[in-house]
Every structure is written in structure tokens, then in C-alpha cells.
């Protein structure tokens, strides 16, 4: 075992049971990797024990140079960051502005790249420093004795109980119990204070703004839909109720509840299992289902015109559009609510009432009447 090529960890027999190693430091450490060979030197460091692997001066010099090189790289990369920062002003300050995605990409890669390089170079320099310049050794340090001695424990216990008696907390139950009682309402107060974070559910979740005679529009263009617009079998479109507030349109809350998938299919394709009522709710092969999945509320919208399946892209609940949107696969349990549709005097498609059941994710009283 020599200073030159020993792997510190495989140092033979270090701290074996029959060998005394090093000099215990004031804090109780000793060198674990140390062995008593002729090559050993006294370690002149913070850990006053023998030292197995000081770095030779030549290696330290090389290490210093290498670390310095890394730090210089980091410095230059850091300067590069400033250059790239100021080379790409925001839109207001001229060209080439970062509002342009291509420029944004260049700016991002230059800024990020220089910073990443600077950070890496500092890390690399420090690693070289630790590995090439600093002497390498391992020390051992005792784990703390974890349980306290019985005397200490006993002493603490006596002291604590004496204090408790003195305070009267153990001896005066009336005081103790009333104090605990007093804490109860105070503990509940923060919960009560949260009451006004929102309204009570009531039957809000069960109803939407759809009502008989309400016209529907194509989502995105807000154009009213006539039954004759959906004339092609296999047709589909996302629709919302007509808004009477042209400036703001429907609120997101209303959109989230009223959105429907209008599907046109061959009336002969409707399943025999559909009830007469469900068939009455369609018009000339046009059927409207809520677009909100009854599982956890994603818009279930993947309508396959060949299989009449409506698939939810989130968790793959599948509903049969030709059979009252009954669940045919996946985690959802309830059929998609159906919106009764009819045609008004002017040929526009209108709702004939609210959805057949509660819209959206199933909740406690979703299937309960009002």
C-alpha cells in the first residue's frame, strides 16, 4: 500500500478490531482510512490524525490550473449571458424582439445555454478542486448515543411531573376541563369562517339554463343553427344556447354546463333499447347530448360516426350515441344527459326543456329528483 495508487476505501484492515488508529481528535474523530505503513505522513490539517492520501504538489498544481480553467469558462459564459440578454429586447424596444417565437427561441437558447454552461463550469471547477487539490481522507465520527441514560430520563420525568403538580394542572380538574372546553369553539372558528368561500350547492348542480324554446348556436361563431343545417348524416357540431348578452356572451360557468354535442345520424340507426321518450327528444335524427363527461367532467367529444361511439379523451369512458349515450366502456357510470330538441316555427333548432339528468361529474344527489 503506497501513497501513489491505493484506493482509499479498500485500505486493508483499517480500524480493524485489533488495531489502534490515528489520534482521536478532540471531537472524537479519527481517520478510518489510515494504516500504519512506512509511507504514511503526519497530516497537517484540521483533522489531527494520520493522512493517507495527500495530493502530490504536481497534481495539486495541475488541479489548480484545471479548476481555474473551468472558472474562467464560467466567467466567460456569464458574460455571454449578459450579451445574449441585451441582444434581444422586448417588443417595445425594437428588433429583434422576443415576441417573435423564432427570436424567442434563439434568446431562450442563448440565455439558457450560457447560464447552464456557467453553472456547469463552476460545478466542474469545484469538483476538480475537491478531487485534485484537497487531500483525500475519510474520518469516522461516532453516532450519538440515542436513548438518554435511565438517570437522565428519570430526572427529567421527576422534574416534569413536579412542575405539572406545582402548576395545579393535574390536581385541579375543573380548571383543566373548562380550559379544554373553552378551546373547542375557538378551534372550530377557523372552519366556520370558511363558510363564505362559496354558496351552498342547493340544486344548482342539477339544472342548467336550457329551457323550452331556447335556440342554439355553433360554439365559436355564435351562429344560430337550423335543423336543415345539419343535413348530412354523420354530421356533428358543438353547440351552446343563444346568448342574449351580445357583449359578454355566455359566462364560462354557463358554457361549462350547457354545452352540447349535436349529432346527426340516420334515424334508423337509433337502438331499439332507446325509450320512446328518448326518441321524442330527437329531431329527424338530430340528437343532443351533454358534452361534459359524467366521470370527472372532461368534454367527451370524440364522436365516431361509424360506430356511433362518443369517447372521452381523458379517461376513455365511451358512450353509445345511438342508444341514449349509455356507457359502453370505461370508468363512467351514468349515461350522458340528453337534451330534448325540437324545431321552432322558423326552422331553428331549439331545446325542448332542460337536460334529462344532472350534467357533469356524478355527485351525491345527482340521480335524486328535486
Amino acid at each position: 500500500m503506497t501513497d501513489n495508487n491505493t484506493n482509499h476505501d479498500s485500505g486493508a484492515g483499517a480500524e480493524g478490531p485489533d488495531r489502534v488508529i490515528g489520534t482521536p481528535s478532540p471531537a472524537g474523530e479519527s481517520l478510518a482510512g489510515a494504516t500504519a505503513t512506512a509511507h504514511e505522513r503526519r497530516h497537517e490539517g484540521p483533522y489531527p490524525a494520520v493522512e493517507t492520501h495527500p495530493r502530490p504538489e504536481e497534481m495539486q498544481r495541475k488541479g489548480e490550473k484545471l479548476a481555474a480553467l473551468w472558472f474562467l469558462v464560467a466567467f466567460l459564459a456569464g458574460i455571454g449571458f449578459f450579451v445574449s440578454y441585451f441582444s434581444f429586447p422586448p417588443n417595445a424596444e425594437g428588433e429583434p424582439a422576443i415576441a417573435d417565437p423564432q427570436t424567442a427561441q434563439y434568446a431562450n437558447m442563448l440565455m439558457g445555454g450560457t447560464i447552464a454552461l456557467a453553472l456547469f463550469a463552476i460545478g466542474a471547477g469545484m469538483t476538480v478542486w475537491a478531487r485534485r487539490v484537497m487531500p483525500h481522507y475519510e474520518v469516522s465520527s461516532p453516532y450519538d448515543e440515542l436513548p438518554s441514560s435511565p438517570e437522565e430520563k428519570g430526572s427529567f420525568s421527576d422534574f416534569f411531573m413536579q412542575g405539572a403538580h406545582e402548576s395545579g394542572f393535574t390536581k385541579r380538574p375543573l380548571m383543566r376541563r373548562t380550559l379544554l372546553l373553552a378551546m373547542v369553539p375557538l378551534g372550530l372558528a377557523p372552519i366556520v369562517l370558511l363558510r363564505d368561500t362559496g354558496p351552498l350547492p342547493g340544486d344548482k348542480l342539477k339544472h342548467t339554463m336550457w329551457e323550452d324554446g331556447m335556440r342554439m348556436v355553433v360554439e365559436g361563431t355564435d351562429r344560430l343553427i337550423r335543423a336543415s343545417d345539419l343535413d348530412e348524416v354523420g354530421g356533428m357540431v358543438t353547440a351552446l344556447p343563444e346568448s342574449h348578452d351580445p357583449e359578454h356572451g355566455l359566462s364560462l360557468n354557463d358554457q361549462a354546463k350547457t354545452v352540447v354535442l349535436l349529432i346527426k345520424m340516420d334515424p334508423a340507426d337509433f337502438s331499439d333499447e332507446m325509450t320512446q321518450q328518448q326518441l321524442d327528444w330527437t329531431h329527424d335524427g338530430i340528437v343532443a347530448y351533454s358534452k361534459i363527461c359524467t366521470h370527472v367532467g372532461c368534454p367527451a367529444a370524440l364522436y365516431e360516426q361509424t360506430s356511433h361511439r362518443i369517447l372521452c379523451p381523458c379517461h376513455q369512458s365511451t358512450f353509445d350515441a345511438a342508444n341514449g349515450a349509455k356507457v359502453v366502456f370505461g370508468p363512467a357510470h351514468r349515461a350522458l344527459p340528453q337534451l330534448p330538441v325540437r324545431v321552432d316555427d322558423e326552422g331553428y333548432l331549439v331545446a325542448a326543456g332542460d337536460f334529462s339528468s344532472a350534467v357533469g361529474p356524478t355527485f351525491w344527489d345527482a340521480e335524486k329528483g328535486d
Binding site: S10, A99, H248, A256, K257, C298, P313, Q316, H333, P361
Partner: protein, 547 residues
């Protein structure tokens, strides 16, 4: 021994502090703290460093982010979305991306750091689990770790929800769906959380407060506690020469480890910055703003929520039921809340379950080699397999599309695999561990195979086995005794009272199951290298006998 006196300025500062805090002794003691030298002990540091990066970049982002769901028509610098209606939260995120220099970069750093943060928590936790480092006296730190893991995931989910882009809004929607599924109080919880119906105008400001104040505050406190406990109890260490239950061996904090750890911080930051510079993450400007009526295929949460997503996907609706007309959607409850509960509850309970089964009340500072605790390692592997499968199930649509497999077939595959996979993983892993134990025993007994073939005078060929290094012998001998006999009767043949009753019998049976297959090293003497006559056959026979 020569010492250079400290520079005057430093001495002055030191004296100033010591005059007020009396820190010289404590300071020296702490700077002498020993860190075992193994890369797997630095995994937790990745988490610490990425958390620091998250805090710093997060503060930067708050300077511009506007957590409001108020409706605006975008009129900023990003041309493609001009004239589009969106929330102020989304618009301000666009502002950070396209009007703030370095804003896009910091956003991407923040997001990558979040992914790395949770990932490093997971592998740190796996290291602690598989080496038994959670055992007494470190159970409390393990519990704190589980709490950090839980909060980190919730923190990530809420952060993901803030920019109000299309996928983030869908994450909130699913969160709302799970809330609604809770029996009796679900609708109330949801109404209070969202300030009304979905989406309302309150949820993003509320999630924002939780995301930037409440949860990071708790996380920070837990991380500090985790670190203080670690500091007090010191690291565990792998078995090796000089490493005992009484003494920890490694590099001292000052000066060497401080430099190494500092360097590691820069490395961690550099990798995250490198990813943020070149790999696009969460391009919310491309997704478009959230509307509750739209959805995209291939919708996914960040990876750490993937297991929940997967659970929601593969869990069938067979167990949904109604009581007196009231709906209990088990298909949402069990995967959505039960899955979380199972994962975190199981993790939290494990140290206590294991201690109860084995009856092991001793302190442990030397880590187990995973092979030496085959049942635990097998259970860990089963858990990893289950998690991995559920996680994969969360991207079954991507798998289906990429490999043109029927979507339903992937669902069924995962439904079956989630039951079989962990069982197979347990059996296979345990067998591998036992095989390794047997090999260890052989190496200990006969030395290692040197590769030298020798012909004996009798004409027989043997391979020369050589003496293992003392370090290897030490590691091999660190194996704990094979069996724990907790159901043993006392000298009068009477069962101890704890062994009676159903609980005691269950425990005895579990303890038997836990250790029954372990290979005993009892009576094995390390190979001295002198007897060359042990051929391969002989050692095989012996290992069979040992079993």
C-alpha cells in the same frame, strides 16, 4: 503541525458572532459532520437544490403573474393570439413569456425543476426504502419525507393549474370531478373550494395562495426539520471496513464535502437550466386559453400525477352503487382518493409494519444491502411495478396511438397487469435476492473465482478460488442473522403472552414469511485462500445444503 492564524477580518467577524451566540464549539462540531461517500447519498440533495431553484424562480414569476380569472381580450406582443379572449392569468403568463426578457427561460426552469424535484424525491425515497434506512431511529424522518412527497405532488398540481391554459384547466376540472364524487359533503366541498360552480372566478386566486404561500411554507418547514433530524442522527452508511453501528465514516463537511456539495448544487442547476434552454416544456402559448367546452386528445398531467390519471382510466365502473337514490361513484373515489391514500398511507405505515413483524427494536445505522432483506426488497419492487404500471396506464391513449393497439385492449392489459405485475415482480425480485445471498455465502466461504484453471496431480481440473479482500469479507459478513424467532417458546415450553391470540399468531406467521427463505451465514468462515481443493461442484453442494 502548523497553523496559519485566521485573517483579521475573519477573526473579527467570528468574535462578533461568538460574543453573541457562543458558537465556537457547536460550530466546530457541526463543520466536522461526516458524510458517507456514495452517490446514492446525494439523491436527497438533488431535491433540496431543485427546491431552492423552485423558490427563487417562483419569486421571479410572481413579479408579473396575475392570478385572476377576469376576462380580457389579449392585446399583447404575441401576434398569433391577439384578439383572443382569455383570463388575466393566461394573458400575464403570455406577458412573462414574450415581453419579459428571460421570462420564458425562468418559466421553463421552474417547470423542469418541479419535474426534477419530485423525481429526485422518488429515487431518494427508493434508496432509503431499499437500504432500510427508514428503520429505528429514523422513522420520524421517513414520515416527514412522505409528507414532503405528498405536498410536493399537490404543490405541483396547483402550480400546473395556474396559467389557465387548456390542459391546466382540465386538470382543475378533474380535481373538481373528484371532489364532487365524495359522498355527502362532496358538493359542499366543491362549492366552497371553487366559490360556486365550475369554473367560477375564485379557483385560480385560491390555488395561487396555496401554491406560493401555504404549501411552500409548510414544505420549507418540513425540509428544515428533515435536515435537522438528519444532522442530529447522522447519515446511515453502507457496510464496509470500519463502518459500524457506532461510527460513521466519510468525508467531513469542512472543507471537502462543502466544496463537493456546492459543486453538486451547480451541477443540478446546470442540468435544469440546460433542459430549460433547449427542451420546450409546457408551451402554454401554443395550447391556447382554457375553455370548459374544449379538450385535446393526449391530455396528460405532469408525470407525478400520472399514476392518478392512470388509476382513473383503468378503474372500472363495476363498483359504483347508489344508496336510497344517492350516488356513490366508486369509480372515481377509489382511484382518485383511494389511490393517493394507499400510496402515501402505505409508505407512511411501512416502517412500523416492518418493525412490528420483525420485532426489531434496535437502532440501525448501517444500511441493509437490499439482497439481505429479500422480502422488503420484493415488496418494494412490487410497489415500484404497481406504480410504474398505473403510471403507464395514464398514457394508454399515447401507447394505443403509437403502437396501433386497440384502446380498450390497453385498458384491459393494465387492469390485469396491475394485479399480476406486482406479484411477479415480488417473486422474481425475492428469488434474485436469495440467489445473490447464496453467491455471497459462497464467495465468503470459498473466495472469489480467480479465473485460473489448475490441473491437479490426479488429472482433475479446478478453478483456483482466491481470498476476497478484507473489505469484501466485511461487507459480506454484515448480513444480519437469517431468521428472527419471535414465536419461540420459553424454556418451560410456554408461549410468551404476546404470541397468543389472533394478533400474535398473525405476527408470528408474518415473521416466518418475512424471513423464512433467507440464506443462513451462520458458521460460515471466510475463505483463507489456502485450500485449493474446493471445486465448483463442492461449493454448489454446500450452497444447496445451506439452503
Amino acid at each position: 503541525m502548523s497553523t496559519t492564524p485566521a485573517p483579521k477580518a475573519l477573526r473579527g467577524l467570528g468574535n462578533y458572532i461568538d460574543d453573541r451566540f457562543h458558537l465556537a464549539k457547536t460550530g466546530e462540531k457541526n463543520l466536522r459532520k461526516v458524510f458517507p461517500n456514495h452517490w446514492s447519498f446525494m439523491l436527497g440533495e438533488i431535491a433540496l437544490y431543485s427546491f431552492i431553484i423552485l423558490l427563487v424562480t417562483g419569486v421571479f414569476l410572481t413579479l408579473w403573474f396575475n392570478p385572476s380569472m377576469g376576462h380580457v381580450v389579449y392585446d399583447g406582443s404575441y401576434e398569433r393570439l391577439r384578439g383572443v379572449g382569455m383570463s388575466e392569468a393566461y394573458a400575464s403568463t403570455l406577458h412573462i413569456t414574450f415581453d419579459v426578457r428571460g421570462g420564458l427561460f425562468i418559466r421553463q426552469v421552474h417547470h423542469w425543476a418541479a419535474l426534477i424535484f419530485v423525481a429526485s424525491l422518488v429515487i431518494h425515497m427508493l434508496r432509503v426504502f431499499f437500504t432500510g434506512a427508514f428503520r429505528k431511529p429514523r422513522e420520524i424522518n421517513w414520515l416527514i419525507g412522505v409528507a414532503i412527497f405528498t405536498l410536493a405532488i399537490v404543490e405541483g398540481l396547483f402550480g400546473y393549474s395556474l396559467p389557465d391554459d387548456l390542459p391546466s384547466g382540465m386538470g382543475v376540472r378533474i380535481f373538481q370531478g373528484v371532489l364532487l364524487a365524495i359522498p355527502v359533503i362532496g358538493t359542499y366541498l366543491m362549492m366552497f373550494m371553487f366559490g360556486g360552480e365550475f369554473p367560477g372566478e375564485a379557483i385560480i386566486p385560491r390555488l395561487y395562495t396555496l401554491h406560493i404561500l401555504v404549501i411552500p411554507g409548510i414544505l420549507l418547514a418540513l425540509i428544515v426539520a428533515h435536515f435537522m433530524i438528519l444532522w442530529h442522527q447522522k447519515h446511515t452508511q453502507y457496510p464496509g471496513t470500519g463502518r459500524t453501528e457506532k461510527k460513521v465514516v466519510g468525508t467531513p463537511m469542512y472543507p471537502a464535502f462543502a466544496v463537493k456539495a456546492g459543486g453538486f448544487f451547480f451541477f443540478t442547476f446546470a442540468v435544469i437550466a440546460g433542459l430549460a434552454a433547449f427542451v420546450q416544456i409546457n408551451p402554454i402559448h401554443l395550447f391556447g386559453p382554457f375553455t370548459p367546452t374544449s379538450i385535446t386528445s393526449g391530455l396528460q398531467p405532469d408525470w407525478y400525477m400520472g399514476f392518478l390519471e392512470g388509476a382513473l382510466r383503468i378503474f372500472p365502473n363495476w363498483f359504483d352503487f347508489t344508496i336510497a337514490g344517492y350516488a356513490v361513484p366508486m369509480g372515481v373515489l377509489l382511484p382518485g382518493l383511494g389511490g393517493m391514500g394507499l400510496l402515501f398511507g402505505g409508505l407512511a405505515a411501512w416502517p412500523f409494519i416492518e418493525a412490528w413483524i420483525t420485532g426489531d427494536k434496535r437502532h440501525h445505522n448501517v444500511a441493509d444491502r437490499p439482497r439481505n432483506a429479500p422480502t422488503r426488497t420484493g415488496i418494494g419492487a412490487a410497489g415500484v411495478t404497481a406504480y410504474g404500471l398505473i403510471w403507464l396506464a395514464g398514457s394508454n391513449d399515447i401507447l394505443s396511438e403509437t403502437f396501433s393497439i386497440s384502446l380498450y385492449a390497453t385498458t384491459w392489459f393494465f387492469r390485469i397487469a396491475i394485479i399480476l405485475g406486482p406479484i411477479i415482480a415480488f417473486i422474481v425480485t425475492k428469488r434474485i435476492c436469495l440467489g445473490l445471498q447464496r453467491r455471497d455465502r459462497e464467495i465468503l466461504e470459498h473466495g472469489y473465482e480467480s479465473g485460473t484453471i489448475q490441473q491437479l496431480p490426479s488429472g482433475e481440473f479446478i478453478e483456483v478460488h482466491k481470498e476476497s479482500s478484507p473489505d469484501t469479507v466485511h461487507v459480506l459478513q454484515s448480513k444480519p442473522p437469517a431468521r428472527i424467532d419471535i414465536d419461540s417458546t420459553d424454556e418451560n415450553g410456554v408461549e410468551p403472552p404476546s404470541g397468543r391470540g389472533a394478533k400474535g399468531r398473525l405476527r408470528a406467521r408474518l415473521a416466518h414469511w418475512y424471513t423464512k427463505d433467507n440464506v443462513s451465514f451462520e458458521g460460515v468462515r471466510p475463505h483463507s485462500g489456502h485450500h485449493l481443493h474446493h471445486g465448483a461442484t463442492a461449493s454448489e453442494e454446500e450452497s444447496v445444503k445451506a439452503h
